[in-house]
Symmetry: C2
């Protein structure tokens, strides 16, 4: 193409052509021979390649002849600094794992440095695996935000709250004060937003939940909460409050379209329409639920019930990876068995759960989660010509059931290239790995 076509050619930053594009919206769409036009970080057009060549003069053009282009994956529940504890302790009951292994180590190392270094390693792993956005939940949200911002990575940062002192805050008031300071700092950030992150119903008091409800209304912030992860949690809540956790949250006014309810293995049939009507988003962490023997989330029932179902890896110390391709595959496989229906949670839905539904859960649906004009350009290219995805009859099936995250070749966030033919861009990987080794030595010596 040339730029002299009588002034009808529009200059843009970037034109991506790909053998296939799976925009996620509309459902099950697979575009062949199409292109995505990007200007100033925004997708301005999705159109056939020949039309793109006639219409646009891109400053950069990237051809992806054996690739499928998909929206960036959204990891809707993470504790990313804990990546520095990956594999430190496994195969243990939850309380033994926490009390005898994770908490004693965290108590000795937690702080802004630990959080920053963990987030940086996590960003490297996420980018290499096609994840462009995460829903973070850990202490020192200021240090997290700084690290995500420095790397141009999209994130929703949880503002933590528990009813006991931590290195982050000592009292309830201090948790709120620090939370609001971080939220204030993030206001207007193009990539990073905040969410309240009360840990769980069993570690947060009514008085704190009430303050969170008021503030989340005023500030229009999501509430990111572990909810009904195990049967024990439900039993304990019934004993203490005479209510199931969902009922308690309803009474507190928190069951609304700002609630991001993580795990929900114990959600009852009666609670599913309640979630759907209120607009609650559920984050299903299939692999974490399996590994910690937490229970089986009725993912297909939630989907059929009209609940927004997103996916998360949970923390890397319990998963033990940040592999969203692995997670969407595990979620799809598990959902079929739990629903006793091989047709449940199909390939297209698995991809939707890991992209658009994640964006919706995080309140970012207007910006990301699908490849549509007007959305920000969070894009991932996956090579499909490798042995493991041949022969190729059905792109959606290969993405859901056969692709490995290592087939991710290129990643853009907000229109900026973050991974180029498998290599991180503007990222000091050797430095991050060296810092990781130092943490490893320090922690192993504890």
């Amino acid at each position: 193409m040339t730029e002299d076509a009588a002034g009808h050619v529009r200059h843009i930053d970037l034109l991506l052509t790909a053998r296939w594009i799976v925009p996620v919206e509309p459902d099950r769409s697979v575009l062949e021979g199409h292109a995505v036009a990007v200007e100033a970080g925004t997708i301005v057009d999705v159109l056939p390649r020949d039309k793109a060549d006639a219409k646009y003069a891109p400053r950069e053009r990237v051809d992806l002849p054996e690739h499928v282009l998909i929206p960036g994956l959204v990891n809707a529940h993470t504790h990313n600094p804990m990546i520095l504890l990956r594999g430190l302790a496994d195969d243990l009951p939850l309380m033994t794992w926490l009390q005898q292994h994770i908490w004693p180590v965290e108590a000795k190392v937690i702080g802004p440095d630990f959080v920053r270094d963990g987030v940086e390693l996590a960003i490297a792993e996420m980018l290499r695996g096609g994840t462009t956005c995460c829903n973070e939940n850990y202490f020192f949200p200021d240090a997290q935000a700084a690290a995500y911002r420095a790397h141009g990575f999209r994130a929703r940062i949880g503002l933590p709250l528990v009813e006991f002192p931590s290195a982050w805050a000592q009292t309830r008031d201090e948790y709120f004060d620090r939370a609001l300071a971080v939220q204030d700092d993030l206001r207007g950030d193009p990539l990073i937003g905040a969410a309240f992150a009360p840990h769980a119903p069993y570690t947060v008091a009514d008085a704190s939940f009430e303050r969170i409800r008021t503030l989340s209304d005023q500030l229009d912030l999501p509430v990111h909460l572990h909810l009904m992860e195990t049967a024990k949690e439900v039993d304990d809540c019934r004993r203490e409050h005479g209510l199931r956790p969902m009922q308690r949250l309803q009474r507190l006014g928190l069951v609304n379209d700002r609630l991001i309810a993580v795990h929900m293995t114990q959600v009852s049939d009666a609670e599913i329409p309640v979630c759907a009507e209120a607009g609650v988003a559920v984050v299903h962490c299939a692999e974490s639920n399996l590994k910690l023997a937490s229970g089986f989330c009725p993912a297909e029932k939630l989907r059929r019930g009209g609940v927004t179902l997103a996916l998360g890896t949970d923390g890397c110390a319990s998963n033990n990876d940040l592999d969203m391709f692995g997670e969407l595959r595990s979620a799809a496989l598990l959902a079929k068995a739990v629903a006793n229906d091989a047709a449940a949670f199909d390939d297209a839905f698995a991809l939707r759960a890991a992209t658009l539904n994640g964006a919706r859960a995080l309140g970012m649906e207007d910006r990301v989660g699908s490849i549509e004009a007007g959305k920000r350009a969070d894009l991932v290219a996956v090579r499909m010509d490798e042995v493991e995805t041949q022969p190729l009859y059905n792109v959606l099936s290969q993405l859901a059931y056969a692709v490995s995250r290592r087939q991710v070749s290129d990643v853009w966030i907000d229109g900026r290239r973050k991974l180029e033919t498998g290599q991180l861009v503007d990222f000091d990987l050797a430095g991050v790995l060296e810092k990781t080794r130092r943490w490893r030595e320090r922690i192993a010596a504890l």
Copy 2:
């Protein structure tokens, strides 16, 4: 090292040094700074590196400074030619999938060429993922055997039997005649052995099972059988025979240490000690069972009950990969949830199930499945210095829960290098992919 150390130095073919060696036997052993000495395809020594340098003069030496060396993975249940149908149909109930999609296509393409080309693509995928041995179950075992033999890949080849005509054989007698001809051809082969492979109790008559029992006794061949994959199978058997499938097989004398029982989602608590005492090996196909919504195999109960538990991917048209690292991880995660015990099916056991127990199931325990002097050198090197396996506290945990098959760098079968720093050795990959593309075009046009 030099060769002139007063004649005490022994010439060998190959010395491998690795940062870590996980020999699988003894249990949980992780050797650091050790070496494996190989002569004529046999492991002759496993010893500290400095002692190896003093003792051996290798013709070839391979240093693996950031790797863990493990026994080759054993995929204990496959239908590898079906790789050519990968992703052709998904998210369907089993009978719809089989009757409306798989069988009509198979009827039009099955034959020695389809089988050979499928096996070759599968070998490429298996080698790239660290699998060195498989337990094959499909038609045209002669074509399979020829392909595995040509590539120096270790396999147990199932001699198929069903009570209906197929492209392979028309009558029961023809199935047996052809099976015995293939078995005769394989006698004495160093890499390839045979097994009887009656499809399943619901497709094989008592008369055939009786002949198989007699022949498997005479020839000392395993019997590779789909067993109790679904609840429906058990119900139907009860209705038809008044017995559970296991009871029927007991009556037929097939519940013995030659039986390789695949799936077993419906095994009862009472049947577990029966399997353990008889020496039955169970092959657990976690991902296939999930994807087809077949049921939940009580893997931890089988393990605790002393049953030899091996792992298999099942066919690539239903899984949809041949990823044994993925499979051992899925099996470990799922077993914890099914057992309601996060400590169940631990990291070391997951690796054992995918190696030594696979070898034991296939009757190859004397030859492969662990890194021990006297065994054949089926060895796999996995790079551990990648982002996704950092930090590294625990090699076994990383192998079970964090490693991707794409970190496999080098593979040896019977002492011969099959994969070298990620590249297939003596393998016409371009040719195999071209044949795959041709099958894809032909099948997609059906």
